[in-house]
């Protein structure tokens, strides 16, 4: 058996893997080595091939070339069931769990505790509760998974995989929709598992997290292996250079003074706006050229606020004004008609139309806004698509590719492009940088600033407080589905936000979740 430099036994060995989708060469001759007991970060830009590598290893995609060895024995799982049986458990990036099944069934699907051929429902729930308790979750495990927020769904998926992992645990962007606290719990559990000799593959675009948790890093670029390093000996800038193949341009954050925005005037304002049982009534003013950040814990009502503002949900109280005139915002069409845009957080179910091409997805909102009888000509569509593919660096830069075949981060960029193409006056972004690589992340933040300078109003939700602090002119803090505080100017910093979130003294550890 081969032994690594740190003499831990080599657990999972991937040699010379190649994989093409038609003309797209997603992986070319990639090697990857996972040692027992290590946490190995797999990094790269959006579309670098991380998810593809994982799917090839677990047998979802047949590979074109290469071999995979597990514990020195060559394996070729033909399905994820086979991979599971071989001891590889995975949380995939896109597909989570089954929303129509109960949380408990999701956790124990295909391995329920049985007696006389009958599922022991009570025992299963007990185990489910115990398992989730390890992640700090106390929820009704008999309720359908779909009735819980994305975050809870994601934790459930992770819990299932952790419980399943016999030798290898693969986590493809597990932290994208979690906030700090959940991430800490997850890391603790990962360390415990690693301590038991399980090898963990960790994919993330959060470099802080990578440095915090990983022992070793493998970087992919354009489907090729760039290199494998010890985390401790790899400076951050060097890592970014490995990922991007170039230096990262500095982002400067020049926050405009409050007075400047006052001068530009109010874009939209909401008074006593709310919906019973959804979000408590709130007042909110969005000015041209200003970024308002929404901060709060998971389930605090940020998404709900965003949906009300856009019109994706009907309000039942309060008043909305757009450019000073009273406005009806009860359907998404109302929102679009008033020049609003909304990038939802659930990219797959509410964002992309997977089957349609990048071009069609980009022009969709613009076309809907223009109406049926004013179709965009194919030339206009091509032009718009080409512009945004270039501007947002969507890869592969082929506007005729079905969006569903793009990597997660690139799908997110397409969504952003869809709304930018409508030249909105207000853009509501729910977790816009989720799953986006460092390079693009910087691009998007730069873009947000640029859009503001053009007079666009922005309402941005992000779980990354650093990020919110970077671009927000004002930050609204939510707790328990109510707006509790608004921070401005110099008051905006991470510790103030955290303080506001935790103000009522409730420990973050037991957030009120549905």
């Amino acid at each position: 058996m081969e032994t690594g430099p740190d003499s831990a036994p080599c657990l999972l060995e991937v040699r010379g893997i190649s994989k093409s989708f038609g003309a797209v060469r997603a992986l070319q001759d990639v090697d990857f080595t996972l040692r027992a007991g290590e946490i190995h970060a797999l990094l790269g830009e959006n579309g670098a091939g991380k998810s593809t590598l994982i799917k090839v290893v677990t047998g979802i995609f047949p590979r074109d070339a290469g071999i995979v060895r597990l514990g020195g024995v060559e394996v070729a799982p033909r399905s994820s069931k086979a991979a599971l049986e071989a001891g590889i458990a995975t949380v995939y990036q896109e597909v989570n769990l089954l929303p129509n099944l109960s949380v408990a069934q999701n956790l124990f699907l295909d391995r329920q505790p049985m007696r006389f051929g009958i599922v022991r429902e009570g025992e299963m729930r007990r185990r489910a509760n115990a398992l989730l308790a390890g992640f700090g979750l106390d929820i009704d495990v008999a309720a359908p998974l779909g009735s819980y927020s994305v975050a809870i769904q994601h934790v459930t998926a992770i819990a299932r995989a952790v419980d399943l992992s016999a030798r290898v645990l693969i986590l493809d962007e597990p932290t994208a929709s979690l906030d700090r606290h959940e991430v800490e719990i997850l890391f603790k559990i990962m360390r415990q598992l690693a301590g038991r000799g399980i090898g963990i593959v960790f994919v993330s675009h959060f470099l802080d997290q990578v440095y915090e948790i990983s022992d070793r890093i493998t970087v992919l670029r354009n489907g090729r292996l760039v290199g494998e390093r010890e985390t401790a000996s790899l400076p951050r800038l060097e890592l970014i250079r490995m990922m991007l193949g170039r230096e990262l341009a500095e982002t400067t954050s020049a926050r405009a003074s409050a007075g400047e925005h006052q001068a530009r005037g109010v874009c939209a304002s909401f008074k006593g706006y709310g919906k019973a049982g959804y979000v408590a009534p709130f007042d909110l003013e969005l000015r041209h050229g200003e970024v308002v950040g929404l901060a709060g814990l998971l389930g605090s009502g940020r998404t709900e606020t965003a949906r009300l503002v856009f019109g994706a949900e009907r309000s039942d109280q309060g008043q909305a004004k757009v450019e000073g005139a009273p406005a009806r915002l009860q359907t998404p069409r109302d929102g679009v008609r008033h020049g609003f845009g909304y990038c939802p957080e659930e990219r797959k179910t509410e964002g992309i139309v997977a089957e349609l091409t990048v071009r069609e997805n980009i022009v969709l909102a613009l076309q809907a806004k223009r109406g049926l009888h004013r179709p965009l000509s194919r030339r206009e569509q091509d032009e718009i698509a080409a512009r945004y593919v270039k501007m947002l660096d969507i890869r592969p830069p082929d506007p005729e590719r079905p969006v569903g075949l793009l990597s997660g981060g690139n799908q997110q960029k397409v969504l952003l492009a869809r709304w930018l193409a409508t030249s909105p006056r207000l853009l509501v972004l729910d977790e816009p940088t989720r799953g986006i690589d460092v390079g693009a992340h910087a691009e998007i933040i730069r873009l947000i600033r640029e859009l503001c300078d053009d007079g666009l109003a922005l309402l941005v939700i992000s779980s990354e407080l650093d990020e919110i602090v970077t671009y927000s002119d004002r930050v609204v803090v939510l707790r328990d589905r109510a707006h509790v505080e608004e921070l401005q100017g110099e008051a905006i910093d991470v510790s103030n936000i955290l303080a506001a979130i935790a103000a009522d003294g409730s420990t973050i550890a037991q957030e009120g979740r549905p």
């Binding site: 597909v95 089954l98 999701n106 699907l109 295909d110 009958i118 599922v119 389930g299 979740r513």
Partner: protein, 326 residues
């Protein structure tokens, strides 16, 4: 917490409908009519149980009516012309229909074809095969047939709980337990949630697909045998169009055609609702052919609309209020 579950609502709708019918025709409120309802819809209840599994798993099976037709012809010929003992004929046809279902499931899975069309081809195939066997109706004279069709538990009020009704009830209960309590049942729901996700979570999607269609065809085969008990004959045109009645019963019973949600009990209620509509029309007896159709449509609409309204009311608080942590 969540309001009334849809199945209960369907049950309420059924009872309300029954009471209304009974007010107009008091004869309806008798054990006799209730037992007739069970007997007359026995074969429908059986196929609908199988169809429930298929639909919850996100598929559809259009071949069931033809499989029933084929079964009756096969059984009749086997017993009357080929001299098979009835039980052997039953075993043979059940094996045959299960294999037929498995084949459809395999085609659906292996070639990634839409179930609607594969089972439509199955429908043509089974019906065509029964024409080849015999275009004439074949009476069955085997003693077991009269024994079974004469058997009935007599209830006060003229009701006769017949053998076929009992078979149906047993299958409905068995189906409900299979769906709710076993790993197979959980996997059926999983497939309906999303085939891809289910497969990622380690469910053997191919095997499940084959088994689900096998189950459906097997139950269609049983329904065919029950149908042959019911009519005492085999006929290649029997049960034409039953697939649509079955699907309607399943959907009225609250199962989503897109898969992932539903129950066998709901389906059973759906079957009874359809039976009640027919009983009502038969009792009325003044309707011409066309008014029969129109009334069936209107009643169908009334039941579904009532059910939807009640479900909408029950779901009123769409989002659970904050802090309602269980």
């Amino acid at each position: 917490m969540k309001g009334l579950p849809p199945v209960l609502i369907t049950a309420i709708v059924l009872v309300a409908g029954f009471v209304l019918c009974a007010l107009q025709f008091p004869n309806i409120a008798s054990t006799r009519v209730v037992c007739n309802l069970l007997t007359d819809n026995a074969f429908l209840g059986i196929v609908a149980t199988g169809m429930t599994f298929v639909i919850i798993s996100g598929g559809i099976d259009l071949s069931v009516g033809s499989v029933i037709g084929f079964t009756t012809v096969f059984v009749a010929l086997a017993i009357e012309r080929w001299g098979m003992p009835p039980l052997v004929a039953f075993v043979a046809i059940l094996a045959l229909s299960a294999a037929f279902g498995a084949a459809m499931g395999a085609v659906i899975h292996l070639f990634d074809l839409p179930p609607f069309i594969v089972t439509l081809a199955g429908m043509f195939l089974a019906r065509g095969a029964s024409f080849l066997l015999s275009t004439e109706s074949v009476p069955i004279t085997a003693p077991i047939y009269s024994t079974v069709s004469d058997f009935a538990l007599r209830l006060p009020g003229g009701g006769r709980l017949t053998a076929v009704a009992i078979i149906m009830l047993v299958i409905v209960i068995g189906g409900a337990l299979l769906l709710q309590l076993t790993r197979f049942g959980a996997n059926v729901y999983a497939l309906g949630g999303s085939r891809i996700t289910a497969s990622l979570m380690g469910v053997a999607v191919g095997k499940m697909t084959i088994r689900i269609y096998m189950l459906s065809s097997l139950l269609a085969g049983i329904a065919g045998i029950v149908f042959s008990f019911y009519t005492g004959a085999g006929y290649s045109l029997s049960a034409v169009g039953v697939e649509l009645d079955t699907i309607a019963a399943v959907v009225i019973g609250g199962t989503l055609l897109t898969g992932g949600q539903g129950s066998v009990v709901g389906t059973f209620l759906g079957v009874l609702i359809q039976g009640l509509i027919q009983t009502y029309i038969n009792f009325d007896g003044t309707l011409s052919s066309w008014w029969t159709k129109i009334a069936t449509g209107v009643l169908l609409f009334a039941f579904i609309a009532l059910q939807q309204v009640m479900i909408a009311i029950a779901r009123r608080p769409a989002v659970r209020p904050a802090g309602a942590t269980p």
